[in-house]
Amino acid sequence: MSMNRRQFLKIAGASTLLGLGGASALNALRGGELEASHVLTDEKALNAKRWAMVIDVSKFRTEEDYKRLTKACHSIHNVPDFGNPKDEIKWIWTDTYEHTFPSQPNEYIEEGIKNKPFVLLCNHCANPPCVRVCPTKATFKRKDGIVMMDQHRCIGCRFCMAACPFGARSFNYKDPRLALKKEEENREYPTRTIGVVEKCTFCFERLAKGLVPACVEASREAAKAAGGEPGMYFGDLDDPASEVRKILSTRYTIRRKPELGTDPSVFYVIGGEKNA
């Protein structure tokens, strides 16, 4: 395809714009012939001002209930399992009360809580230190509150890992494909490459299609099968009518390390009573 001077200038100008602007640059790039092309958000997409999660560990009964969450998440996102803590990559996992809330130690706490595994994932903080320190905006905050990772842009400096007080981030010390079985890959989602940082994204790719995060769905399925209530709730913290707000207004919930001012969006219900 030959290109005349005018077209060339248009494209050159557009490339400059692309660095600065967003969607508007697309039209400039297309020039006259493709003027009509544009991008939209899917009508089915779930929207919120600030996505949040409530986790009620009392609703999880068996080890299987927890494994189901991790499996749902890690299998659809092609999270590798290297089988050693050094290279470990995890988006959602469990740990004890003591490790989850190290600033709330209580030797004599009720046995049920003491030995209960707590579900851990990225807190999608409202004031995220990881975003503050990232030198390339590879990790950034979306309008809906999700702390997102752009794997294309990450230079692997691991400043975000030092900044995250919740240990939510993992680094690809090795090629993740070494630990992924070809036949178990989710071919609709990418893997990561060597040398980038990754973490939970609140399933941004599922929200765009109108689906709730995979872990929430897994907990709903588990509840349905067992005939109980699910242990994970997901919704808009900004909407007083949302499911998460209803629980927050009726139950005692805590967050991890709130004293650090990061304002986490993941809440934990403490205590076992029924929902009011």
Binding site: P135, T136, R153, I155, C157
Partner: protein
């Protein structure tokens, strides 16, 4: 002037080729890391920075220390530093070269390093660190080169160099302050979350850097006909003494706050480093070695009668340099990650390859230093007895 680095004795060339070989070994190992990822290092999900970033932090201090010669000479008219100020500036050039190399070898995706400039992010301290480090490198190359070539021609350096020299003073403070801010602004890392971090960094820098400079000046005197002079070396020795006292004092302040407040998060990293925590204590011998060497160096430095003997001064400087190297180049970074955010402990120790890469970067820095010092020494030998005021 560059040609002066191309002629030299057999000893000079042996040293240069030895350094080149070290750089080569480091480079081959780096290629292996480039292909296989940072998994070949001892770093982990919990201790995500290690030897590389530690060395970077330590060397920023060495680089900043040039200002300890620039201030007396240019601001206080302390003429005796006239001949060695250039040694400080060229040491800074070599040190910043190593700093930038250490950052580079630590990156998981080094090919994307220009993203820092393509997507400038002023809220990231790393962005500012890139600016101040490169600026400082540029300043010292220009200032060092211009003043030396003027000395060689026996003329006054151009007038425009003066503002750059004055600019280099606050700039030196900025590189180490910004490097301290990399750590001191992170919530949840109690060991680093300390307002005195930048001050402590500067104190250790102004002790460690000049100590290295004294050793280098003594080596230069021994190997060449250029004598940096007894008095300037003693004056630098005084600076080292005061800075080291300040550094140990600041470290003491950290201990007081952690242990008198009894806040577990603040105490844990110190306990881990100096006594071991829950049976994990890989760094304990190193940290104690650092403490003992610090005390030894202080004893040798504080008494003027001891310090005035150059052999003892040299021994004190070696002890001090090693002490600070362990404390800042290793303990400071690793200690910040232990225990992890879940109060768990994952220890760190560099692998052989990681160590060889780090040695390669050091060799690269010493190569730069050797070439620059060779030029300086040759010019000084040629112009012996001529004093040019800058």
């Amino acid at each position: 002037m560059l040609e002066k680095a191309l002629t030299g004795s057999r000893r000079y060339w042996t040293w240069v080729f030895f350094l080149l070989a070290m750089v080569g070994v480091g480079f081959v190992n780096y290629l292996y890391q480039f292909k296989n990822g940072l998994g070949i290092t001892g770093m982990s999900r919990d201790v995500s920075w290690g030897l590389y970033i530690g060395q970077f932090t330590f060397l920023v201090g060495v680089a900043a220390s040039a200002v300890m010669l620039v201030i007396p000479y240019y601001l206080h008219d302390f003429k005796k530093f006239g001949k060695i100020v250039i040694l400080g500036e060229f040491l800074a050039v070599a040190a910043v070269t190593m700093c930038i190399s250490f950052i580079f070898v630590d990156l998981g995706q080094p090919m994307r390093v220009l993203n820092v400039i393509l997507h400038p992010t002023p809220n990231s301290i790393l962005f500012w660190d890139m600016i101040v480090l490169n600026g400082y490198l540029f300043l010292n190359i220009v200032i060092g080169w211009m003043t030396l070539s003027s000395d060689r021609k026996g003329i006054k350096p151009p007038a425009w160099i003066k503002p750059l020299i004055y600019l280099s003073i606050p700039w030196a403070f900025s590189i180490h302050t910004v490097t301290a801010f990399l750590y001191a602004g992170l919530p949840g890392r109690h060991f680093w979350l300390s307002a005195i971090m930048a001050a402590r960094f500067l104190a250790s820098a102004f002790a460690g850097g000049p100590a290295l400079l004294i050793l280098l000046a003594l080596i230069v005197r021994k190997l060449t006909k250029f004598d940096p002079g007894k008095e300037p070396i003693q004056a630098v020795g005084k600076i080292v003494t005061y800075a080291m006292i300040a550094n140990v004092f600041f470290l003491g302040l950290e201990f007081f706050t952690a242990f008198y407040s009894q806040i577990p998060g603040h105490m844990h990293p110190f306990v881990y480093l100096y006594a071991g925590l829950e049976g994990h204590g890989k760094l304990v011998p190193l940290m104690w070695a650092s403490s003992i060497l610090a005390v030894v160096s202080l004893v040798l430095l504080i008494f003027p009668s001891l310090r005035r003997q150059e052999g003892i001064l040299a021994a004190a400087c070696v002890a001090l340099f090693v002490s600070l190297w362990i404390d800042k180049g290793f303990g400071l970074v690793v200690g910040g990650f232990i225990p992890n955010p879940f109060e768990g402990i994952m220890e760190y120790w560099p692998t052989t390859r990681e160590t060889l890469i780090a040695l390669g970067v050091w060799a690269l820095g010493f190569l730069v230093l050797t070439l620059l010092y060779k030029i300086t020494v040759t010019v000084r030998e040629e112009t012996a007895g001529i004093e040019i005021e800058h």
